[in-house]
Symmetry: C2
């Protein structure tokens, strides 16, 4: 088997092992600064007591994101040193060091990049693309693979809607041209608006997986 | 010579030919939606009569950016079809089709990506990284190559400063940890604030090149 087929088989096996353990795996992709880490902080606060959530966060440099998350959830930093997207071997290495006892959700925060992460299966059950209202509502068509291969789109920073030329209906229409019926959930990681509905969505997806 | 050395030699030759023609070449890199295209629109309006500016804009899909710029400047869309950064051959192919008569500035808008474009010489005299205040002031250390290999940093969307947790001095400090003395220019492509100083900076750089 060539490398690509072997990787795909490994990812499928890893996904199944998580299913068997009752853990929903989410691969979160977005541009740099769309708010992935902030959203994870908001989710952790919303789920303060339970369900239990753990995070693997990827970056090309520093462990700033892991430091921001450590007060709230079990987290391990994955540092690529240059590669512009996470790949399965690095994720599995991080998973071994992570305190995953009793968790229901494993969230992988991918490297800030709206292109390359869309081409790499990390064993997730759900891929979510996070787009912030400050990036513009014409982005889905311009970065189609990220939207085509995701099962949900979170539109973040809706608190800034009064100050930016962005239409939630326009971006939803553009996303649906690329991926018909893709669920679009508006949130603000800053104010907390929409976070409860987003957590409900994931809880529901986990229930379906079990 | 291996491919990398040949590419570097080609880029150097192309840069020299632009110098001989009095054209300053700028390679603009940033995350998706940081405001490259909007800033180019603002620059074109500022330089309405002259100097003359032409643009090559790269994307993985669509020609939306070229359409937005066409009313203002000679422009050609470069579509990679998937590659997450521009490379010299595609730039040279676009250059041949571009109406470059009498221009003083060739601006290359790179693909929206804060990582991979930092590793590819497009023959530019000046590489500029555009970071928007909405992305966060901890990004320079997290995406160091983009800042280390640039000769200027434009901080865009300063009109949003009242509504986001962003400090211009903090991001300047973080950028200088990676690249001491990197010029940081705050602008708003939306309101026009700082655009004149940014254009002055480029005019000055061109004068130095001649
Ligand atoms: N106004 C506003 N700002 C937000 C919101 N969410 C995040 N931010 C800000 O956006 C910036 C980037 O947030 P991060 O959480 O670092 O984004 P990220 O996607 O994790 O960035 P990378 O990991 O580098 O790709 C920070 O300054 C946040 O405070 C929001 O809902 N509203
Ligand atoms: N508030 C505010 N919004 C801005 C500013 N500059 C750009 N925008 C908005 O930011 C969004 C993205 O702008 P673009 O010009 O498309 O960004 P870009 O870097 O060219 O995006 P890509 O080419 O896809 O990488 C759009 O909705 C713009 O209207 C600014 O100075 N202030
Ligand atoms: Mg982050
Ligand atoms: Mg653009
Ligand atoms: Zn890549
Ligand atoms: Zn790349």
């Amino acid at each position: 088997l060539d490398l690509q087929s072997r990787r795909r088989a490994e990812a499928a096996a890893w996904r199944q092992s998580l299913t068997d353990r009752g853990i929903l795996c989410v691969n979160m992709i977005s541009s740099p600064g769309a708010g992935k880490t902030s959203l994870l902080q908001a989710m952790a606060k919303h789920w303060a007591d339970r369900p239990r959530m753990a995070v693997l966060v990827g970056d090309i440099a520093t462990d700033r994101d892991a430091e921001r998350l450590a007060p709230y959830v079990p987290v391990k930093q994955l540092t690529t040193g240059g590669a512009c997207h996470l790949e399965l071997p690095l994720v599995l290495a991080g998973w071994e060091k992570l305190n995953s006892h009793g968790i229901e959700f494993l969230i992988i925060e991918n490297v800030g990049n709206l292109i390359c992460p869309a081409s790499h299966d990390l064993g997730e059950h759900i891929r979510v693309v996070v787009l912030s209202v400050t990036e513009g509502d014409d982005k889905p068509g311009k970065y189609p693979k990220a939207f085509r291969t995701s099962q949900a789109c979170v539109v973040n920073k809706i608190d800034l809607l009064p100050y930016v030329p962005f239409s939630v209906s326009a971006v939803t229409e553009d996303a649906h041209r690329v991926h018909a019926g893709l669920p679009v959930l508006p949130v603000s990681a800053l104010t907390g608006e929409g976070v409860s509905a987003w957590c409900e969505f994931l809880t529901d997806r986990r229930r379906q997986m079990l």
